[in-house]
């Protein structure tokens, strides 16, 4: 009897390997790598800050806002690029954070134990974005760009190709990971001004929404555990911080997660 149980548990363990290759994280990883290959081979000219795709110029909206605040000048081409990226956020929500930003693969590795998002999250995000633009206004210098994880990686990659130093990239990422470890907070969820700005805009996004199937969903916390943003599909109503990483699809034991492409009422 006992031997049978042991053998049964053993076979169970053997079936479930610890390192599974999941579909959507793999697709996202190759999407990120592909974006950087396109930039590195000069097929698309630029970096995550400003990228030229054919005749179209797409610019980081937070960077452009800081630039206008810092220099008190308006550059029309750059403003158009920022509006294009605002349109992309309107269509795809906060997808930049998990599909293009390289920091996603270093920070935010699953929710930290006993850690919750800020209490008044939307207001904290507004304060972070306002603080970044205000600091640029006060200092006459887009200072968040110095430490922006996406920009730091781009600069490190370009510098590595040009014989420059990659120390700023490694040093800043080490500092942020250390701060995450010490405070129990997640950079992408709680601190990142880019993510905060994008999720404030992504509130108006009517496309690409994650919804539960109400017939099959029995409210549990499986999606909340898998979600790096700490969202619960059965409890939460505001999904503006969703980064469309699609980790909840694999996490749901009942297969009750749907991706709805268009929602106009």
């Amino acid at each position: 009897m006992t031997t049978r149980i042991i053998s049964a548990t053993k076979s169970k363990r053997r079936k479930k390997s610890r390192f599974q290759l999941k579909l959507w994280p793999t697709v996202r990883f190759f999407f990120t790598i592909g974006f950087f290959i396109l930039i590195g081979t000069d097929i698309w000219n630029g970096s995550t800050c400003v990228v030229d795709i054919g005749p179209l110029q797409i610019a980081c909206p937070l960077g452009v806002a800081q630039l206008i605040a810092a220099s008190r000048k308006i550059i029309p081409a750059l403003l158009v690029g920022a509006l294009v990226s605002l349109g992309l956020i309107f269509f795809f929500g906060r997808a930049f954070c998990s599909w293009i930003c390289p920091g996603r693969w270093i920070f935010n590795r699953g929710p930290v134990k006993n850690s919750k998002p800020w209490k008044y999250r939307a207001w904290v995000q507004r304060v972070i974005v306002g603080g970044v633009v205000g600091a640029a206004f006060v200092c006459h210098n887009p200072i968040f760009c110095t430490i922006c994880p996406a920009g730091v990686v781009c600069r490190g990659a370009i510098a590595a190709g040009n014989g420059g130093s990659v120390f700023p990239t490694i040093g800043w990422y080490t500092m942020l990971v250390g701060a995450e470890w010490a405070t129990g907070r997640s950079w992408c969820r709680d601190m990142c001004p880019l993510g905060a700005a994008f999720s404030r805009i992504s509130r108006w996004n009517p496309f690409l929404k994650i919804r539960r199937a109400e017939e099959t969903c029995t409210p549990c916390v499986a999606c909340q555990r898998a979600c790096p943003e700490g969202l619960n599909l059965s409890k939460d109503t505001d999904f503006s911080t969703c980064t469309k990483c699609l980790e909840c699809i694999a996490a749901c034991p009942r297969g009750a997660v749907n991706v709805e492409l268009l929602q106009i009422k």
Partner: protein, 198 residues
């Protein structure tokens, strides 16, 4: 039941002190007076303070430069790194710049800085002969003809002709490795000038 021994610094206290110290440091760094750095800016840049206000550090100029003459400093701003390459005034960086940080310039009158020879380190100055070294003179003869020898064989720089392209620094055979020792390093350096021609 094991109880954690009381230490002088609890985790909360440590975090509070570290957070206070780092926020004071951050405030100082943010509110310090703007300093004009000695680093050479790429051609077409305005004065350093307005350059730092309008550059978003996207790195396009660094990637666009075929001579690899531009590099990043610690804060991510581009500067002219003559150890890597020299500026051919092709204007690739100004074309790549998405903001107005680098404006189009006239390659005939544009000036990045002026080369200055360190006579303690220069090989020709130390040996006093007409034939030794002179690599900077050869490379400058094809560009600006700004370096000439005097009758002792010592190279001199004509500041009116020099446009600070940095070819002499790139080719100088002295090691770029300084190790904090003022006697080491390249014998030529580019020093920024106040008026930057457009």
């Amino acid at each position: 039941m094991t109880k954690q021994p009381d230490s002088k610094f609890s985790r909360r206290e440590f975090l509070r002190i570290a957070g206070g110290a780092s926020s004071v440091g951050l405030l100082y760094w943010l509110l310090r007076p703007a300093q004009a750095s000695a680093a050479l800016l790429p051609p077409g840049a305005q004065d350093p303070i307005s350059f730092k206000a309008i550059c978003i550090r996207c790195g396009k100029c660094v990637a666009a430069c075929e001579q690899k003459a531009i590099n990043f400093d610690e804060a991510g701003f581009p500067f002219m790194d003559a150890l890597q390459g020299w500026c051919d005034f092709s204007g690739d960086c100004t074309q790549a710049c998405p903001t107005a940080a680098l404006l189009p310039f006239n390659p005939d009158i544009a000036k990045i800085g002026t080369a200055v020879i360190d006579t303690d380190r220069c090989i020709a100055w130390n040996l006093n002969c007409q034939l030794c070294c002179g690599l900077c003179i050869h490379v400058c003869d094809e560009l600006q003809q700004a370096i000439y020898r005097d009758e002792d064989g010592n190279p001199h720089i004509d500041p009116a002709r020099c446009n600070g392209c940095g070819a002499c620094v790139t080719i100088c055979p002295r090691s770029a490795f300084t190790d904090g020792n003022p006697k080491r390093g390249k014998a030529v350096s580019i020093q920024s000038v106040n008026s930057i021609g457009l």
